[in-house]
């Protein structure tokens, strides 16, 4: 399952780069190159070959003393046309920075989103619930880059609490990008927790627990929350993947040295190996992340496991209450 998807992803990204109207050979030589030198350069870079030859080389490597590389399967895509640094070394050095940002944002989104979601669900259609509903809708509708600019304007330019530029070494400078990035995920997690909690609260076993005279807190946190969190975990996992990819805008605005900045810069400079490497890297991470969420789902919710193996047992739910 994973292999054909990864294969397809690389094929799409490679095809996109193949049809890009940039000319790396011309770029390497400059505008005044002779036609002969240009043809030679094109041959050296392996760009004179048909699409599938280039794609196979991209996967399995290309032998050449200057432009050669071991191929995507062996984690080597050669050097950047612009900085002449090894593509994957550059990606691996900037990926942890993006990871810090995405993990921070997810943590922030969960730590605020889940309690607010529970609060909204325990008092549905109250003023608090309405307020947070509006808040969640705003969070989901706000363009990320605008949110970032407003935060910079307020906290960096006016109040001067946090710096406008961000780097992974400085904790204080990480606050604004993390808040920016987490906004959308927080809204999603909040809404998901709320609706999932509301659904669970209507179940028979919750009524049973209440009838038994249990404390409302125990009912909410021990009986309802455990079951309500299952879809939330899935959403959180999927959001983490989106955060890794979606960090592009946030990183760019805060000049944060992450994978997103590298990717966008590479796109501006038409640095093909760098674009190929970073987009494939993110797509692969994203796919693996999603697979991981699927596996995790089986562990959190034993019911889904039994569904896969044999007919689902209706007893499972009763035993939980």
């Amino acid at each position: 399952m994973l292999v054909p998807v990864l294969f397809g992803v690389t094929l799409i990204v490679f095809a996109l780069m193949y049809i890009t109207p940039s000319d790396p050979a011309q770029m390497m030589l400059g505008a005044n190159a002779s036609p002969a030198a240009y043809t030679q350069m094109k041959a050296d870079m392996g760009l004179d070959k048909p699409f599938f030859v280039q794609y196979v080389r991209f996967l399995f490597g290309y032998k050449h003393e200057i432009f050669g590389y071991k191929g995507l399967l062996f984690g080597d895509l050669g050097r950047s046309y612009i900085s002449n640094r090894n593509v994957f070394e550059l990606i691996l050095s900037s990926f942890p920075n993006t990871l810090i940002l995405a993990a921070g944002a997810l943590f922030f989104a969960l730590i605020l989103g889940i309690p607010i979601g529970i609060l909204s669900a325990t008092k549905p259609y109250s003023i608090i619930d309405m307020l947070f509903t509006v808040f969640a809708l705003l969070g989901a509708s706000m363009p990320v880059f605008w949110a970032a600019m407003v935060l910079i304007y307020t906290f960096a330019n006016k109040l001067r609490i946090f710096p406008a530029m961000s780097n992974p070494g400085d904790m204080l400078s990480l606050v604004l990008p993390i808040v920016t990035l987490s906004m959308y995920s927080m809204a999603i997690i909040m809404r998901m927790t709320r609706s999932s909690m509301l659904e669970v609260m209507e179940q028979d076993y919750i009524r049973t627990a209440r009838v038994k005279g249990m404390d409302e807190k125990v009912v909410i946190f021990k009986h309802a929350l455990r079951n309500a969190l299952i879809p939330v975990v899935t959403v959180a996992g999927l959001q983490f993947g989106q955060l890794l990819g979606g960090a592009v805008l946030t990183e760019k605005i805060f000049s944060y040295p992450g994978l997103g900045t590298i990717m966008v810069d590479a796109i501006y400079q038409k640095d093909t190996p760098q674009i190929l490497g970073s987009v494939c890297f993110v797509a692969i991470t994203f796919t693996i992340m999603n697979l991981f969420v699927d596996i995790l789902y089986g562990f959190i919710d034993p019911r889904s496991k039994t569904t896969f193996r044999r007919k689902a047992k209706p007893v499972a739910q009763r035993s939980r209450a």
Partner: protein, 314 residues
């Protein structure tokens, strides 16, 4: 044929809903109008649509794209003398002017046109392509289903914004390519929705009945299945118009969509970046416009979902 349609035991919300309301929208409207936020959003969207249609009557396109540096960074409400078409004219900048002395309100008005077109065109393209592919996958099943769903999985495994960026980067900067990039990112969603709804409907008796009296596949899908699966598609499309506007602004902000001096909400913010410290109106005017528009589409989408879903009727 009419009797068959009227008597079919459909479980779909939308068609049942249509029939019950005597094939008019009065009940639907009553249902939707209970949701005050959705109605207000609908009004806002209509106003924006009118503004977008009549943009040229409000502000001339040349006027909002030509520089007049002596009027740069005016505050909202200030007026200045603009040299335009070889004449000096007195002009009040209702929302102020940007760093090139262009009228911000005028640029927002013309940007509305761009955003509306992008919003509706991308959804139309995605709906058509995704709908057809989803219908084939769901209705035909088998190899078609496997192939189309694998392709969908592949598209879904690239984060949406990244896919759009990569497509614009590959095809080059143009309005048309922006449309392609955004709609491609939406297609997987439509394929999934249409396929899932078709699978739930296609084995029901009324489809079988239609097949028995000799209806072809195309007729069955278009006349019998399609009316039964419209409600999730309508909801998804409304929400998608909002996200398309958001993505278009984001891509333009990165310099990968519509480039200045053409007025677009995202590129207005991109240009404003260096000046927000001195002229915050550059930041708030386009930003709030995007926020309100996207919010309105999301609220309408939510309202439609509630109005079209009989389970939630109270």
């Amino acid at each position: 044929m009419t009797t068959t349609v009227a008597a079919r035991p459909s479980t779909s919300n939308f068609s049942r809903f249509l029939r019950r309301s005597g094939r008019n929208f009065s009940q639907f409207w009553r249902q939707l109008s209970r949701n005050k936020l959705a109605v207000a959003s609908l009004a806002l969207v209509l106003v924006f649509a009118l503004v977008a249609i009549f943009a040229d009557l409000l502000y001339e396109y040349d006027f909002v794209t030509s520089n007049s540096l002596e009027n740069a960074l005016l505050k909202p409400g200030e007026s200045g003398v603009v040299y335009y078409h070889e004449k000096d004219i007195e002009h009040t900048f209702i929302l102020g002017s940007d760093n090139y002395g262009r009228d911000i309100l005028g640029r927002l008005v013309h940007g509305a046109r761009v955003s509306m077109i992008i919003g509706f065109a991308t959804v139309a393209i995605a709906l058509l392509t995704g709908g057809i592919l989803g219908a084939i996958a769901g209705y035909k099943g088998g190899l078609f289903d496997t192939l189309i769903m694998r392709a969908t999985d592949i598209l879904l495994s690239i984060p949406t914004i990244l896919l759009a960026i990569a497509i614009v980067a590959a095809l080059g900067n143009s309005f048309f390519n922006l449309l392609i990039a955004i709609s491609t990112s939406m297609i997987p969603g439509y394929i999934r929705i249409v396929r899932a709804s078709i699978i739930t409907v296609k084995d029901q008796e009324f489809v079988e009945a239609a097949r028995c009296i000799g209806a072809g596949d195309l007729r069955i899908v278009l006349k019998h299945i399609l009316p039964n699966i419209t409600s999730p598609i309508i909801v998804q499309s409304t929400l998608n118009v909002g996200s398309a506007i958001n993505w278009a602004a984001s891509l333009s902000f990165l310099g990968l969509g519509i480039l200045p001096p053409k007025p677009e909400w995202g590129n207005m913010l991109s240009e404003a970046r260096e000046f927000i410290q001195y002229a915050p109106h550059l930041l708030f005017a386009p930003g709030l416009t995007i926020l309100l528009t996207v919010l309105a589409y999301n609220l309408i989408g939510d309202g439609l979902r509630d109005a079209l879903d009989p389970k939630l009727k109270r």
